[in-house]
């Protein structure tokens, strides 16, 4: 029992608790703020503060909020590069209708100069364009899990 009158027990307790005390002091040094563990937030700074780590999965990505624990970490698309305004394009297909104009002549050889009345197919791809959305790139850090408020 801790607090025994026995010197031997006192030594055992001291050496048993020494590593714990060391860890506790180290944690205290790292946890220099009152933010909860695993908090992910932006900083108006160039480097994460002590006790916070860069979030690699958030690099070049927007952050989507969810309340479904099963969705945490789900991500889509390749990360953005530095100041990259991601572009995209659309394919399309359709027809353009050519209405008829009657003529008193038969369909046969040999004047090919006229166009047939029909729905003429067309298809293509638009030019690339960005979304037009405004962005700001910010340092994003995660509070280390060593914080006592870890879940």
């Amino acid at each position: 029992m801790i607090g025994s009158h026995s010197v031997r027990h006192g030594r055992i307790a001291f050496f048993a608790l020494l590593p714990v005390a060391t860890i506790a002091m180290a944690s205290s040094a790292a946890a220099q703020d009152g933010a909860p563990a695993r908090m992910v937030t932006f900083f108006n700074a160039a480097a994460c503060p002590t006790g916070w780590n860069p979030v690699s999965i958030a690099s070049g990505r927007l952050l989507l909020a969810s309340t479904d624990p099963a969705k945490v970490g789900v991500n889509v698309n390749a990360p953005l590069g530095n100041l990259e305004d991601r572009t995209h394009k659309h394919g399309y297909s359709g027809t353009v209708a050519l209405s008829y104009k009657s003529i008193s002549a038969g369909d046969s050889c040999c004047n090919p100069s006229a166009a047939h009345t029909r729905d003429n197919p067309l298809s293509g791809t638009t030019n690339n364009a960005p979304s037009g959305l405004p962005f700001v790139q910010l340092l994003v850090c995660e509070r280390a899990a060593s914080n006592p408020t870890s879940k």
Binding site: T41, P112, A114, H116, S131, P134
Partner: protein, 259 residues
Amino acid sequence: MSTFVRRFAIRRLLLPLALAVFAPPSFADSLPVGAVSLFNSIQCPTGWGPLLSADGYFFLPLMEGGHNMSRSGEALNPGADPQHKHMIASSISIEGTQFVAIGGCCNDSLASAGTKSFSTPADAVSPGLPYVTLLACTKRDPPDTSPPPPQHTLMYFSTPSCPSGWTKNLFTQGRFPVGLPANGTPGLTFGGAPLAPLERRTHTHAFSGEVATEKRDVAIGSGCCTGGYAKNGTYPYTGVSSADDSGLPYMQLLQCEKN
């Protein structure tokens, strides 16, 4: 070392330390009630609760004139890639040709000349914007006396104004925050102008192409003076698509910086 000193060390130093380490942590933190944040965790910390109204929304730093926590767009199911499409509308100008025949009944197989318009929906695609999903929580319990978050922390708040010790952030207002890319410079803005409150920012795409008509043989010579028939050929078109937004839903939230 005397027995007394050992007892003192054990009772006054090591015992409280052991209790502090092994006892359940207080779970409190120094963030004020109304703080909103994301967590790389499957549950909100004690003292925090899920922010249900934020489910499926990106946080957008509140712009001037906007209402805090108001939302724009349909919530996104995490993992889904929001899609949008545009209308493609333009026209081709069909050159005319003449025949020596008499116009009128009864061969209707030739096309007429003139301007021919068309309209068709473009394929639905994603704008390709990358995101990662994190747990949205809001602070419900009062703060404790632990040290405040680090200086320059950017935090969202559901409160009408920034708490004491925090200052409203201006340069991020109306812009989607992106995690700093590798080798990126923090704090730089890009893309469009900041959004107005609840604005659905749209974009367009230029397009161009050609339409090839199909020839139709007729048993008549070309020449004066029955005209208005479409000349077989290839006709160009150009245009700009209709405007549409990229489908990113967002919640406007007051963002403050720790002094």
